[in-house]
């Protein structure tokens, strides 16, 4: 009888142990962060490729290690757990996470949409012979985006709204980028919102209705967030921002275009000529608070957020433009 009780107790303990592992974790960054930092990545970001191969990070005394991670909550979890020091997220996700109460701060911008007079890098694509010619024609239609409630959906919905189309009247469908254009061409969706650089070899099969990002003015497509405690601990975040600023300057120099495409081509396994032919998003390391504020307002308008948070404490001083 006694041994049976012991067995039972052991079983309970084992179960408790198995289930209680979900405890909390200290959110502090790693101790040797003064030089070695880890940055989450989706794949091949041109600024990372450039800064690493041209020694920009090293110049700012940063030993950058890239770690692959999805965006959104995965990247936020990564910086909060110390698994990464800088998390790659889009501006909307960053604001949303901050608004939810996660102790993070924005330390740098990276990618913004290409604003006129530059060629638009983004589009709402329909088939070449599609009867859809204006935003109004999209009412009641299916639009492919990369993620539900992600940046592409927010921007497209805001664009529709600005053109008098109720966003609720269209249905957004999540599809991997690679599947979007085939889905448009086969008529499975009516339109898709993605960047020109993701069209693959389908440039001739589709046309763009407009650059939806342009109606939002400036949108931060890529930013970096860090745990608040990490920012407070030293100047690594500041140096990261400075490295990004310098990288942006070099990348925006037309003389460096060919070289940047060559580097990117190696990483992405896409020919450099193809890359050069595609309009690219702009690089901007400084964070424009007014632009962020407009982005927050868009989410409130789309009922994704209750009310606009105070973004002042969110963006670090050194990162502001």
């Amino acid at each position: 009888m006694i041994s049976r009780r012991i067995g039972a107790a052991a079983a309970v303990t084992a179960l408790l142990f198995a289930s209680a592992c979900g405890g909390g974790y200290d959110a502090a960054g790693s101790a040797n962060a003064t030089t070695k930092v880890s940055v989450t990545t989706f794949g091949c970001e041109i600024w990372n490729t450039w800064a690493i191969s041209k020694g920009v990070y090293v110049k700012h005394r940063l030993d950058v290690e890239l770690v692959r991670s999805g965006g959104g909550s995965a990247a936020v979890a990564a910086v909060l757990s110390g698994a990464a020091d800088f998390g790659y997220v889009n501006g909307y996700t960053a604001i949303n996470a901050y608004n939810t109460g996660f102790p993070i701060q924005m330390v740098s911008g990276a990618n913004v949409n290409a604003l006129p007079p530059a060629k638009p890098a983004q589009g709402v694509f329909v088939g070449k012979d599609s009867p859809i010619t204006s935003p109004a024609d999209l009412a009641g239609k299916k639009i492919a985006v990369n993620e539900i409630n992600g940046i592409n959906q927010i921007v497209t919905a805001s664009w529709l709204k600005a053109n008098g189309v109720e966003p609720e009247s269209v249905s957004f469908v999540a599809l991997p980028f690679a599947e979007q254009i085939p889905a448009v061409l086969s008529g499975r969706v009516d339109a898709a919102q993605l960047g020109y650089s993701l069209l693959g070899n389908n440039n001739d099969g589709v046309r763009s209705l407009a650059d939806p990002f342009a109606s939002s003015n400036k949108v931060y497509i890529a930013t970096y967030v860090a745990a608040k405690s990490f920012v407070a601990k030293g100047d690594a975040a500041k140096r990261f921002h400075e490295a990004m600023t310098e990288t942006a300057q070099q990348l925006n120099d037309p003389a460096n275009k060919d070289e940047s495409f060559r580097l990117l081509s190696e990483c992405q396994k896409v020919p450099a000529e193809t890359l050069a032919a595609q309009p690219q998003n702009a690089i901007e390391a400084a964070v424009d608070l007014a632009a962020l504020d407009r982005m927050a307002q868009q989410m409130v308008d789309l009922k994704m957020m209750q009310k606009k948070p105070d973004l002042e404490p969110f963006v670090t001083d050194f990162a502001r433009s």
Partner: protein
Amino acid sequence: MSDVRVSHPVKADVPAPSPSGVPTAARRRGPTPDWAYGLAGIATMFVVWELVVRTGAVSADSLPYPAATMRRAGELLVDATFLTEVAQTLWAWLLAMLAASAVGIPLGLTLGYFSAFYRPSSSVVHAGRSIPSSAFLPIAILLFGLGTQMKVSLAIYAIFWPILLNAMYGVRDTEPLMLATGRSMGWGRTRLLTRVVLPSAAPSIATGLRVASSTALIVVLSAELLGATSGVGTVITTYQQAQRPDFVYAGILLVGLLGMALYYGFNLVERLVVPWGQAQRESGR
């Protein structure tokens, strides 16, 4: 009756009952070996695949031609980076299998043995196994970061349940008659456990591990597709982003073959370690 058992290898000497009860013509003429049929099956798959793409039922943009895929698979097989990533995936798989069995088997034996725990723990198990492990991705990252540990933890979550469940069912299925016999012979608890309960639960445990082995591979791979630092999944994602479906499907095909190899390997080990499992199952209990 074990709950989770997927299959056991076909033994060539088991007579296939033909519905009429009469041996089929093919058998009388002298049997064609199984592997020949298997090869024919694989060949047919490639033909159908080719036809599907050639007729345009599925465009070559979405599904590449089999020949192209095989060529890319060949290229990947001699690509050192790819092989390193395969090793990373396999390493995560192995860790998950070891950790999940180390906890799942003893716990399952315990829970199955004490009837007071059996029913309450089954409801926990059924609740747990209905939740896709990918739902825990953010939490896994929070706890384990972005490296191998995270992948392994998700895979452990997914395979913990079948392993646990099979161990539980294995113990529950112990022939009461055998237990009674053991008791009447004055065997103590330890002796009953090692002589009766464990041997009779072993086949079921083995089945759980076999199911877990393919699930673990799939989950590790999915975690790598969703976000991880290393592994075959990250290679596939890179090619996906570069819009190279030929490489993507070559990778998937190789992963499928890897799963097949693990499966047959497991079968072999199982037959060596638990030879009585086969007989037990074939007696159609």
